[in-house]
Symmetry: C3
Subunit: 277 residues, 3 copies
């Protein structure tokens, strides 16, 4: 994957303004909507079972985030995912807190098993829980022992490729080093900043941005996911560069949305650090 | 409508701190609450059928926004609207995504038919869908072919007056040029900035602000709606003037709330561009 | 309570990164999550009855906020509170709008009666409604006649101690002057800024921060609550010091989260004004 593949993928988002239907949690939903607008997409949120099929039909993708799932929204996810399947729209799954509760683990597993998920995006603890591997989810954050380090990178890539092969989905595991893989290839993305873990929603926004890239770059989920992960990490670095001593997670959140608005192909090519593994 | 009518309407909000009960979507609800506080009102959110009647009774107005409607909140809207009717409180309706799904179109229509709605505020695609006119809703954004231009202004005004006459509501259609009308008179408001369409929630906040103006200016829904639309557009221009190259929709959102906090009668008179059609 | 008790309590939060499970309203939930991250804790939001017990078991505390309660979330609160009781986790209750509707007053009362609540945090109108005293709740804001003044401070302290004695909970009544009491002792905290009442969510965030302090300082709910209230008020003053004339409640919200991120033991000791009554 060359730097200009990334900028082209971003350009495709900006040119096509993909409509992305999100069934997501109420904690970070506003950031998800603003993040999609910032990157050049258009968000629609709808989780009511009676509403989701109509909405999904006019959209280009479906993002499912189980952060504050409930019985009604799970039913909405099922119906929306079935409709996305009929329409051939990519489905992106964010298994927030998988491993932290039986309902979350089971719901994420059900969605992955029942529907043709294009991309799964989570932290290593969540993806391990979803894969049935031993893991130690610490709430909605990755467990420290699950952190992807340079030493563990080859193993993480093998795990991601294997899980991609089993599920048919592109797998994006984000953390200090991000690993994105399909069954055949794996990439490391070394962008971002620890500040992204100190605000709520950076992961949720990324998942939505993946949805936008997947819609605008049909047929190449791996490039879409790598480009989205690199764009988000690069925006994080642009945001971090604005931080003053008096700033904290309030300002960082604002700067991150600003950076997603302003990042362009040139900046993305300059900042992105993508390596095939 | 003279400039000092606008500033007087704003002054009435600031002097009376109207309590506005909102049943609104979970995407932009925080901005709705902060927008109401910024303009000088006090927000209360409640959508549970068992809670809404008590809450509506202590408030001065009801704002209904169908952005993330569900079966429970629709029932909450019915009960709250019936209570608002008994109390003589103005009801302001935001038909988010009308035309994008059957549930949204039907729910907005049901609310408009069943209750005495004082003001309807939406984009042209939503209002056309509600009026049963041919329209092309693109999710929650107006379709480009529905944009109100200088050339189409007289036609848009006639449409708005006609819909106002049929429904008894003041009709506020917002876009590049805003059109606000009752059955007898129509006004164009030429304020705002395209940046308001690049953040989520500017329309939802405006609808809430209309609710505040309608409460504080009883018996004159048309002046209330025009003043609210002009105040919001003027605040948008004040916010846009603060934008730096590094800023994006994160900062714009903050600046818009700041501008709603700081706008006063003098600024509103200076910036507002209201024309009777 | 000495100044270094406050900074030690804050240090305990920062050192232990308490996981705080919140069942809270959808209006200010994003600020609650970012506020917890800013102060050094880790938030998890979950309100689905089938999910809450698993989530509560892995957390250190439970925050219950009835701001946009509904039938399902009330059931979630019951189950989560029962689990917190089994685990010995502190429960912090925010009776948002108690007195404004029967459902809110009854639900807050039910939670207080049925479970071992460690801290109740609200404004005077809400706490008076909960105590069955005559009160005049004005929606979710305190009624002006309920404001705690220097003249009424001794009476407010006596009321708080009495309510603490009746309920077994530490009682934190916040307003222009904050009063925090258990059955034996009462403290006044004279920090904060009126700007905190002009944004939505300052109270909700404080309640979550109390949850973090209560988890990190087990067995001393009174010190935890006083320190949390003083930290929040001090952060408010730090935020207010950054305000420029063009700023409004958008910027203040950002600055408040920034201040919660940056406040440390030294700043807290320097700014906090805590007096035993």
């Amino acid at each position: 994957m060359e730097p200009n593949d990334l900028s082209e993928a971003l350009g495709n988002v900006r040119r096509s303004t993909p409509l992305v239907h999100c069934i997501t949690n109420y904690v970070t939903v506003n950031d998800c909507a603003n993040g999609l607008l910032a990157i050049g997409a258009s968000p629609i949120m709808s989780d009511e079972p009676q509403d989701v099929a109509d909405i999904q039909r006019i959209c280009g993708a479906l993002v499912l985030n189980i952060g504050t799932l409930n019985e009604r929204s799970i039913e909405g996810m099922r119906i929306a995912a079935a409709t996305a399947g009929e329409c051939g729209h990519p489905i992106v799954l964010d298994p927030v807190g998988a491993g932290a509760s039986a309902l979350r683990t089971q719901t994420a597993g059900m969605l992955l098993d029942s529907f043709d998920v294009a991309v799964v995006r989570g932290n290593m603890s969540e993806i391990r829980a979803l894969a049935g591997a031993a893991s130690c989810t610490r709430g909605v954050d990755a467990s420290p022992q699950d952190a992807v380090t340079e030493e563990g990178l080859a193993q993480a890539a093998a795990f991601a490729r294997d899980f991609a092969a089993r599920t048919g989905a592109v797998v994006a595991i984000t953390g200090a080093i991000d690993v994105v893989a399909d069954a055949a290839r794996a990439f490391a993305v070394r962008n971002g900043t620890p500040l992204m873990g100190k605000m709520t929603g950076a992961g949720c926004v990324l998942t939505c941005v993946v949805g936008a890239f997947a819609t605008a770059n049909p047929g190449d989920g791996l490039t879409a996911a790598v480009a989205a992960v690199a764009a988000m990490g690069s925006a994080g670095e642009m945001a971090a560069a604005r931080m003053q001593p008096v700033d904290g997670n309030g300002s960082f959140r604002t700067y991150l949305l600003d950076a997603l608005t302003n990042i362009n192909g040139e900046a993305l090519q300059a900042i992105a650090k993508v390596q095939e593994l």
